[in-house]
């Protein structure tokens, strides 16, 4: 907390001096810190219930301790490994495809000079974000239907066999990733578009003077300007690798695709149907969050090693 870097000149001052000098900022910080203390750190003691058989009315103090029972149940389950594997693979595909896509879209949108069209394209692209997965999955299942869906009708007319995309294990993950892409790309691009508009126009003018074309300007001006926000978004995304999208997977999943599509959240959901298993679900969550935490730390570490932009 000692070094405040201002354009290469390190200013070394004491912590107290720092505080009194920037006291307005510190005062503004108080509500935020309080928020996290009261609402995020305080409730963490509730994680204790992962090691109990928790009954709400008896409370944490009244519920019996069972140690690692729920974790053992989780790890001993014959489906746990395949469920974890599916979660990781699907998340990895999504990260690979759905993460860069909004960046590319925002770059493309940024190059559109016709403002009305740009606004229109932008609005259309983020509309799917507001439609719930229940509806989207219904639409997509119809769209991919082997007998009624336009894609399969096209395939048949071209002389191919129709493919039951949603029920075919080989295609299922693709359906998940692409439907997620369609739904999230527009919404995801908003944050990048905001960053793009903040780029100093003089940089573009200077690049033009140096003879840079559109592509060169994108590569040498826009992308570097986006790098910090891309890094931050990537670090945040990496924390979500184990947090699969329940609403999406659950609505697409059928027993023929359990082997490739059953993820942690859908598995826990089926487990939870039978009982109000507070403790078990907390144990699963604790496990997931621990891994996510490690992933965030790792990504941040790598980001800091490879470029200057990291969360901390």
């Amino acid at each position: 907390m000692t070094a405040v870097t201002a354009k290469g000149k390190p200013v070394k001052k004491g912590f107290l001096y720092n505080m009194s000098h920037y006291k307005e900022y510190y005062i503004m910080l108080i509500p935020g810190i309080l928020f996290f203390l009261v609402f995020c750190y305080g409730p963490m003691y509730g994680l204790v219930i992962a090691f109990q058989n928790y009954y709400p009315l008896k409370g944490i103090s009244g519920s019996p301790f069972v140690g690692l029972k729920h974790f053992k149940a989780l790890f001993n389950d014959p489906f746990f490994v395949s469920v974890l594997k599916n979660t990781l693979i699907i998340s990895f595909y999504k990260l690979l495809i759905c993460f860069p896509a909004p960046i590319i879209l925002s770059l493309i949108l940024n190059e559109i000079k016709c403002m009305p069209f740009k606004k229109f394209a932008q609005s259309i692209s983020y509309l799917p974000h507001f439609v719930s997965w229940v509806v989207v999955s219904g639409i997509i299942i119809e769209f991919l239907s082997p007998s009624r869906g336009p894609i399969n009708i096209l395939l048949q007319n071209l002389g191919f066999e129709s493919i039951f995309f949603v029920a075919e294990p080989k295609c299922f993950r693709g359906v998940l990733v692409l439907s997620d892409l369609w739904k999230s790309i527009g919404w995801g691009s908003i944050v990048y578009l905001a960053a793009v508009t903040a780029v100093d126009p003089t940089l573009y003018e200077a690049a033009e003077m140096d003879g840079a074309g559109r592509i060169k300007k994108i590569i040498h001006v826009t992308l570097p300007a986006l790098a910090p926000i891309i890094t931050v978004m990537l670090i945040m995304e990496s924390g979500k690798i184990l947090n699969d999208s329940f609403e999406q997977v659950y609505n697409f999943l059928t027993p023929s695709t359990y082997s490739v599509g059953d993820v942690i959240s859908t598995f826990v959901y089926r487990m939870g149907i039978q009982k109000m298993q507070y403790s078990f679900t907390t144990a699963v969550d604790l496990f997931k969050n621990t891994i996510s935490f490690i992933l965030v730390i790792l990504t941040n570490y790598v980001a800091r090693k490879t470029n200057d932009y990291a969360l901390w």
Binding site: C40, P56, L57, A73, F79, F164, I273, K275
Partner: protein, 535 residues
């Protein structure tokens, strides 16, 4: 996300605790008064009305405290009735938050027996001894005895004690709905046996029943699976999202429950279904289901002319008679069907008879509307008395039963040829306090208030494999997700041919090894103990 949920829960819990404390000042006074002015058995004796809160489940609207129906109920039982309302969106979560805050209604309807142990161990549901029910609600007890399927009195027994009342319901098995215009066009009769079924279904595929010149029809999908299993004596339930519901066990004739999906007969059924799948009788898209969204009992494949046979409750298509011309007789699904096929027609046929003469379809619980008193309600004798009086009235006074279930004639319902018809529905009806303190479509209610509907329902259906209220045991809940995955993967793979029929034997071994055998034994033992507890 999880964190924030928990914190909101904590916050709300403290708010609830505060409001409960605030409410305390008036309550003890009331209940002590209640105890001193303790009436022997009847609630008729005048005194301060006892405050009674009732949670019937996830409903669509808050009940108006001054509604006419509410006032009539209050006057009759000398109570001050408050309907608890819990937002049906995230019902269970909201409810649990209120419980966690120490707040609870006096009467609570649970929809899933597996909640009982948690509610009892968690101090939410209180004991209601069977002797007390028999003594204070004799008319209920009489009818309950008469329709006891062997499990009625033991349903809500946990660790040797009884927690609440369950009701003998007028459960109707699923009916088989055929496209009558297709049958007529091909000159076919409604089939009766499994072999006849196969002939008609094959004709649906081969002989172009919709007359469009293309071979683009299948014959059936997953909602007919139940009837095929039924022909082999097995209970099979496929849900809204097609899935074999492993958690629903079958109760054998010897009163011993078991998992139907690992029975040797199930292999024969799977062989039959696989055969039909290969021949195109089963719609390939059964994997994503007959229902493509919206009201769960609609079968879009059936309405869109993709298949010619489906299964549902009789009233989903027809209210109270087989007359398909009378629009007043159309149920929800029939209205949709007619909207898409103005010239289409349907006919109800019998469930297929299997090689050994067995037949039947899935039925819902014979005992239901499990209504419990919370520890708060059970601790006040006046509330217990009022509750049992209301229960008894539902079985002895049909005008009262009609009032709490259908409301006031002319305002909430009217009499038609086929029986009473609601003229107010949904949110509006809920606000009026109707369907708040009723006990559902019990046998006596169906017999006396909606006789046409009941008669029709049973006439068009045959044997029912009714839902068994399995006693919740840890051995099941710990492995049910695994058993579910195993069964569904195996079943879908065998039907579609991804795995050979003989894979069934491997599956059964795996199922047993994964805890299925221990789970089955535990349920059998727990059930036997429950039965013994009430004898």
């Amino acid at each position: 996300m999880k964190k924030s949920k928990r914190l909101i829960a904590g916050f709300m819990a403290s708010m609830m605790a505060a409001s409960v404390l605030a409410g305390c000042s008036s309550k003890p006074a009331e209940s002590t008064q209640g105890q001193t002015a303790e009436a022997p058995a009847t609630a008729e004796e005048k005194g301060e009305p006892v405050q009674m809160t009732w949670l019937v489940g996830a409903t669509s609207a808050e009940v108006d405290d001054n509604a006419e129906v509410v006032k009539m109920i209050e006057d009759r039982f000398n109570i001050d009735l408050k309907a608890w309302y819990v937002d049906s969106n995230k019902y269970q979560e909201n409810l649990n938050v209120r419980f966690a805050g120490g707040e609870m209604p006096d009467v609570l309807v649970i929809d899933n027996l597996s909640q009982l142990p948690d509610y009892v161990d968690g101090g939410i549901i209180g004991e209601l001894p069977i002797e007390e029910i028999r003594e204070k609600a004799p008319n209920y007890a009489k009818i309950a005895d008469q329709y006891d399927d062997g499990s009625l009195w033991s349903t809500l027994v946990y660790k040797g004690k009884n927690y609440g009342v369950t009701n003998p319901m007028d459960a109707v098995p699923m009916a088989m709905f055929w496209r009558k215009d297709w049958l007529d066009k091909l000159g076919l009769e409604v089939p009766k046996t499994l072999d006849e079924y196969e002939k008609v279904l094959t004709a649906f595929v081969e002989q172009d029943p919709d007359g469009n010149g293309k071979k683009d029809t299948a014959a059936m999908a997953e909602r007919t699976f139940g009837a095929v299993f039924g022909a082999y004596g097995l209970r099979c339930v496929t849900g809204g999202n097609p899935r074999f519901k492993v958690e629903e066990m079958q109760l054998g004739e010897d009163n011993v429950p078991y998992f139907p999906y690992i029975q040797p007969k199930a292999k024969e059924v799977l062989a039959k279904l696989h055969d039909w799948y290969t021949k195109g009788l089963i719609d390939k898209e059964f994997i994503t289901g007959e229902n493509h969204g919206g009201y769960a009992w609609l079968s879009h494949s059936f309405m869109n002319g993709k298949i010619g046979l489906t299964s549902a409750q009789p009233y989903h298509y027809l209210n109270a008679s087989t007359d398909t011309k009378n629009e007043e007789n159309w149920g929800v699904c029939m209205k949709e069907f007619k909207g898409l096929n103005p010239d289409g027609d349907i006919v109800i046929g019998p469930a297929p008879i299997g090689p050994d003469g067995q037949s039947g379809t899935e039925g819902w619980n014979l005992t239901g509307r499990m209504t419990c008193l919370t520890t708060k309600g059970a601790s006040d004798p006046r509330i217990v008395d009022a509750f049992l009086a209301m229960l008894d009235a539902y079985y002895s006074d049909m005008d009262y039963a009609r009032l709490v279930n259908y409301g006031l004639e002319g305002k909430h319902w009217k009499m038609a040829d086929l029986g009473p018809i609601r003229i107010m529905e949904g949110t509006d009806l809920r606000k009026e306090g109707v369907l708040q303190v009723d006990f559902g479509s019990t046998v006596n209610f169906a017999e006396n208030v909606t006789p046409q509907k009941r008669k029709f329902g049973h006439e068009v259906t045959g044997n029912g494999y009714y839902r068994f209220n399995a006693p919740p045991v840890e051995e099941v809940s710990n492995v049910i997700a695994t058993l579910d995955s195993l069964t569904n993967q195996a079943y879908f793979d065998i039907i579609t041919g991804a795995k050979p029929i003989d894979y069934f034997d491997t599956f059964v071994e795996e199922f047993k090894k994964a805890g299925g055998e221990a789970a089955e034994k535990a349920v059998q033992q727990a059930y036997a103990e429950k039965i013994a507890a009430v004898k």
